[in-house]
């Protein structure tokens, strides 16, 4: 070999304008005199070296030729030729070496008329092949095995193979992967592979939290990069469930949110309550609210393993239907889901929640509390009875109250609620009056009569 090298390098002395360097690291370079040893690589792995050509002369030079010749060697990032180099200018490129069989390898780099010899050695090693798109592909040390997007809590598997392509048996002593990746489960190490023998294995990724995961897989002295991106699994389909679907005004109703299956996801969202009055003129009703929050929204939280969503920390929460006719719209936002459910509160006749009647020496007082969810009360009817239950007078006493209630509802913001005090002057003995029956008329009709005792 030495006589050949002497022959190859003899023209260099005549043309010392361009010089070859190897760049070990940024800012560190060494001149390559006649040859350079790239080092040792396991079979199938790549060695990559950065080389530099510099114009060391005081005049311009043109790089006319740059090539590499040798089995397993290739050049990357080399410049387009010809390349004009002013004095002191560098041009960098990379040389990559990879060979599948053990042995010594060399190549000749030619830059213009100058030559340099590059050497590399390949030691026998097991080849790692990893499946991608249904095909097994050999990987070099440092290669990335990317699992892509994987749901937290699930397990993604890449099929792989260790193959001995060498002519003699090889032993694999160590094969490990950092969490949350796993490899070689069930593989009995150390493992000796005869020439041409292969063994299958699985590389898996089991993320336990959302985010990017990176770890190294080590195969004896070689390292491969493992990468995965864990995403939260989707929530199962949620359903908004009411303790009663048939609701009316002045009710407190329970609502819960259930999943069709056990949730694999954890996260939070909101359950919102909106109100659409039957008519725009009715406006809003402040009593329509979730009692827990005193507002129109509660926090919705679900954890992995739950079969329902916790609303404001509880399995269910209570809301009021208010005293205005309209539609209650519930909107659950949880993960990618937006679920809506509606409850209709129909227009109803006015209702009395409580009634009290009192006698005074010259008058009677009737106090009624209740609601009119149409806010259209127009007439009240009072029928008085004596102590023995016989009606007093020729018929009911009527009061046309449409204007009074219209003004009242315009001035208040309490839905259809009202408290009414009606006073009746009495001529004669008020003590003879035993009861009063009240009927109220609104746009939905006449309410059932309510008898109130004095």
């Amino acid at each position: 070999m030495r006589p050949l090298l002497t022959f190859l390098l003899s023209p260099v002395a005549a043309l010392a304008q361009l010089q070859l360097f190897v760049v070990d690291s940024p800012g560190s370079e060494r001149a390559v005199a006649a040859s350079y040893d790239l080092g040792d690589a396991p079979a199938g792995d790549a060695l990559e070296t950065r080389l530099r050509i510099r114009n060391s002369a005081g005049a311009n030079a043109s790089l006319q030729r740059l090539s590499i010749a040798g089995q397993g060697f290739s050049m990357l990032g080399d410049p387009s030729l010809p390349f004009l180099m002013t004095p002191g200018v560098n041009v960098d490129f990379r040389v990559r070496f990879r060979a599948g069989n053990a042995g010594s390898y060399s190549a000749v780099v030619q830059y213009n008329e100058r030559l340099a010899v590059l050497r590399a050695t390949v030691s026998p090693a097991v080849t790692l092949l990893v499946e991608r798109d249904g095909l097994l592909a050999a990987l070099s040390a440092g290669a990335i095995i990317d699992f892509g997007r994987v749901e937290r809590g699930s397990r993604a598997v890449r099929h792989a193979e260790l193959r001995n392509t060498n002519g003699a048996a090889l032993t694999v002593s160590s094969l490990t992967a950092g969490e949350p990746f796993q490899v070689a489960a069930g593989l009995d190490l150390p493992l000796t592979l005869a020439a041409g023998q292969a063994v299958s294995l699985e590389i898996s990724y089991s993320p336990r939290r959302a985010g990017i995961d990176r770890a190294a897989m080590r195969l004896d002295g070689r390292s491969f990069a493992l990468e995965g991106f864990a995403v939260e699994p989707p929530f199962p389909e949620p359903r908004i469930v009411f303790s009663s679907e048939a609701v009316s005004s002045a009710q407190q109703v329970r609502v819960s949110v259930r999943f069709d299956e056990i949730s694999r996801a954890s996260g939070s969202g909101t359950l919102a309550l909106d109100f659409l009055p039957l008519a725009d003129s009715l406006g809003d009703d402040p009593a329509i609210q979730f009692l827990a929050s005193g507002g129109r929204q509660v926090r919705a939280v679900a954890s992995e393993g739950d079969d329902s969503v916790r609303l404001d920390g509880q399995p269910e929460t209570v809301f009021q239907t208010g005293t205005t006719a309209g539609t209650l719209v519930f909107t659950l936002r949880l993960g990618d889901h937006t679920q809506r459910a509606m409850l209709r509160v129909g227009a109803a006749t006015a209702a009395i929640d409580a009634g009290r009647a009192a006698r005074h020496p010259s008058s009677l007082e009737v106090r009624l509390t209740g609601f009119d969810n149409t806010r259209s009360l127009s007439r009240l009817s009072f029928t008085f009875y004596d102590r023995s239950g016989r009606p007093i007078g020729a018929g009911p006493t009527l009061a046309e109250v449409a204007e009074d209630f219209r003004r009242y509802y315009q001035a208040t913001r309490s839905g259809g609620l009202f408290s009414l005090l009606a006073t009746f002057p009495v001529a004669g003995s008020a003590g003879e009056v035993g009861a009063v029956e009240v009927e109220m008329v609104n746009s939905a009709g006449a309410s059932p009569t309510r008898r109130i005792l004095f």
Binding site: S249, T323, S414
Partner: protein
Amino acid sequence: MRNTCVLIALLTSMTAEPDRLDVPRIGFWRSADGTIRQLDGIRGNLIGSRVWLKGAVSAASSGRRTLVKTGDSILALDAGGEVVWRLEAPPGRASFAFTSAGEPARAYFHETSELIQLPDGLRAETPPDPVVALSESAMVVRRGESMWLIRDDGSESPLTGARDPVALLPDASPIYFDGVELIASGRLPRRIRLPQPPEWIEPVGPGWLHVRTSTESFAVFLGEEGPELFGLPAGRR
């Protein structure tokens, strides 16, 4: 026919007097953070978020008057929430009693075991046993592990199974927890199950009680058909 002697006429304009048509007012209640809130509404439709006072350690409302115990005073509010009088008081919790007309009658200070008349603040004879609850004419005292209802006429009767807290209605009917249910004692005892044991019971208006558990506030309506339980708006406070 006597009924022909009774002539009834309707006041034709109810709005001639502004208080004839109004929002139903129940009274006031004390939330767990010591805030006094107005409570309006009816059964199943309560509105109770308006704040009137803070720093209350006890409260009771007849609807007509509300008594609030702060760190060093008793405040009396009218039905509109305005302070009508104030009285210096020893520290700690207090229990209050109203007359049947809803006016303040007396107060008991638990830390100092003092009983006073209201609204003048004159000290009354203090019973030898710790008072748990009081009305205008009776009180509930603790004797060892048991509770006793003592009326001003001298009669005494045990409240079998009663545990703290206990409340007395203006007619001296006791409301208490027996470890499982809230019992409204009367001619026909009525029961209602609570989701959790109560920590305190305070009257919030005619026929209404505030029952506070460790996590939530409820309004109990004492109607003819027995007690009914409702959630209070923002009752987790």
